[in-house]
């Protein structure tokens, strides 16, 4: 079988297009390259979705944490603490089993606890029926798609990256030069227009190098998805899933893992390149000397 044929068969295997059976024996280098590459589709999907959605929640969290209002500050602080303070691996497990419990009848156990906690006077038959009905008709169907990796794991990654990015944005928000804000005041900018024209762009500019790191490590974190409860339905997995598949079958880790490393280094370089373009755009008004260079350093891994 030629390599082109293999690519046609397995190039989109990770999303269920092409040959259904995975290779069983005589694993060629081409097969390993193709399948692991096809798994990268999932890594890119998870990373891009989480980053795109997380950006907005992170901005809200940063503003919330920086707010003087207790009611917005505390939730943001707790959210950031919970998602940054616990391992992503455990978060995946917890989320997966929670969704599973909500989907199945085990979720009723939660309702029993609720009834047990509530004072007896509250728990009338009507209320019980209403809560059970709500659970059956709304919660169970809603939890159904979240037990699949594409939505459930994506959701966890979205919350997780929001927390990390929120912390980065919060730090940047605090280090906006005082003079910039005073200048905005002097020009009569306030409220929304000050935020849109001064605060937000400056925050992004200051946060961008750290945000680039966050993006890189988020892509790395996507490899955890299929090792943390979420099932790889019909063997449609991510790059690490296929790399481990080959390492298990051939008992030779020295081929699939370097291939995976090769793909991830490419992905990392692509992320650095794209974020570098954005960084240049954000810094375009500054004199050459003052522009902040992107420095890529490992920061918090989940």
């Amino acid at each position: 079988m030629s390599c082109l044929q293999t690519i046609a068969d397995y190039g989109l295997r990770a999303i269920g297009i092409g040959e259904r059976l995975l290779p069983r024996s005589d694993f060629t280098l081409c097969q390993q390259f193709t399948l692991i590459g096809s798994g990268m589709i999932w890594n890119i999907y998870f990373g891009v979705m989480a980053l795109a959605a997380g950006f907005f929640l992170a901005t809200l969290l940063a503003l919330g944490k920086g707010s003087r209002l207790w009611i917005t500050r505390k939730p943001a602080e707790w959210f950031i603490f919970i998602f940054r303070g616990s391992p992503l691996f455990i978060q995946f497990f917890f989320a997966y089993f929670s969704f599973l419990s909500l989907k199945n009848s085990e979720g009723l156990f939660l309702i029993q606890i609720l009834f047990w906690v509530l004072p007896d006077a509250f728990v009338t038959v009507g209320l019980q029926d209403a809560i059970m009905g709500f659970f059956r008709n709304v919660v169970q169907p809603a939890a159904q798609p979240f037990t699949a990796a594409w939505l459930g794991a994506g959701f966890v990654l979205f919350l997780n990256t929001s927390a990390y990015t929120g912390e980065i944005f919060h730090g940047a928000l605090k280090s906006i030069p005082k003079g910039d804000l005073e200048a905005a005041d002097a020009y009569g900018l306030s409220g929304w227009s000050r935020f849109r024209r001064i605060t937000f762009p400056t925050m992004l500019r200051l946060a961008w190098p750290a945000y680039t790191n966050e993006a890189i490590f988020l892509f790395h974190a996507t490899t955890l998805v299929y090792f943390s409860g979420f099932p790889a339905w019909q063997q449609r997995g991510d790059a690490l899933y296929y790399a481990q598949f080959f390492a298990d079958k051939t008992f030779n880790p020295f081929i699939p893992y370097p291939i995976l490393a090769f793909y991830f280094i490419l992905l990392t370089l692509a992320v650095i390149g794209l974020y570098g373009i954005a960084n240049r755009y954000l810094n375009r008004h500054l004199p050459q000397e003052a522009r902040r260079r992107l420095r890529i350093r490992p920061n918090l891994i989940r």
Partner: protein, 294 residues
């Protein structure tokens, strides 16, 4: 555990839970939290050792050594750490068996890699197939420790390399003016002073390592994740005295709380350490403390 647990079917409510939570398997679950802390206690010095070697190599004036040191710390930036875990756990095992094979069975003629198999002579197996279970467990744990140390050593190398660069150049020049050799200046001046610069990075590394400990599960160790999955799963009345539904959600919720506590305590301790180490240092924080004291 308790006398009253002898007949589980007669229990109810809280006493049922008290008995349920003290079964032998639950005791193993609680002990596995100790495994996590033990792992942390071992890998911190081990990773520092690897990191120190890596950072020293990266600073070397001998080019190949310096390239080696820099590559070591650079590679973890590009590749997910979990890929390293899955890789090293097989690769290290095979490397050990290969070396033992070469020493113990020199007259073995067949190739070691036969198609999809990795075949070494019986005497070279790690650990020997007739050794007791605890040897297998300990060996698996040690391979896991080594894997962690190699991967997080690369992070530590980066931190320590930065810290070594951050020690003011004047300090080294003064040492040289006193006639110290390169090695002496390194040992007596650079290494004692670099820690305050390394502390924020090392604190970060500690947090990373705390949050990486559940990955032990992927290395085949019976750790907290293993037990949470095992104990939380649905239990049929036929197989156990304590039947229950799918409680994995609650077990993993407990793990979540455990890790939150661990990082919270770590944060407090690191804050204290930073203040302690800043005392008398030529840094802004040290200067502020001097002024406050004076």
């Amino acid at each position: 555990m308790f006398e009253s647990c002898a007949d589980p079917s007669s229990l109810e409510g809280l006493s049922w839970f008290a008995c349920y939570l003290t079964t032998g398997k639950h005791m193993a679950f609680y002990a596995s939290f100790g495994t996590v802390l033990l792992l942390l206690a071992i890998i911190l010095p081990a990773a520092l050792l690897f990191g120190f070697a890596g950072a020293t190599a990266a600073r070397s004036r001998f080019l190949p050594l310096s390239i080696l040191g820099k590559t070591y710390s650079a590679i973890v930036r590009g590749v997910p750490d979990i890929a390293f875990f899955l890789f090293f756990v097989i690769a290290l095992d095979q490397a050990f068996e290969y070396i033992r094979h070469k020493i113990k069975c020199p007259d073995w003629s067949e190739p070691i890699r036969q198609g999809n198999d990795f075949v070494v002579c019986t005497a070279a197996k790690m650990p020997l197939s007739n050794s007791p279970a605890w040897v297998h467990d300990t060996y698996a744990f040690l391979v896991a420790v080594l894997t962690f140390a190699i991967v997080y050593g690369a992070f530590a190398a980066q931190v320590l390399y930065g810290a070594m660069q951050a020690v003011p150049r004047a300090q080294i020049e003064t040492a040289e003016a006193y006639g110290m050799s390169h090695a002496q200046a390194f040992r007596r001046i650079l290494v004692p002073q670099m820690w305050i610069y390394a502390l924020p990075g090392l604190g970060n590394l500690w947090m990373i390592m705390v949050k990486a400990t559940p990955l032990l599960f992927l290395l085949g160790i019976q750790d907290v994740v293993y037990w949470a999955r095992d104990l939380g799963g649905t239990k049929q009345a036929r197989f156990t005295d304590y039947p229950h539904g799918d409680w994995r959600m609650f077990y993993f919720g407990a793990l979540l709380v455990f890790y939150l506590l661990l990082t919270w305590v770590s944060e407090k301790v690191l804050d204290r350490l930073t203040r302690r180490f800043s005392l008398g240092q030529a840094t802004a924080a040290g200067e502020a403390m001097r002024k406050a004291g004076a």
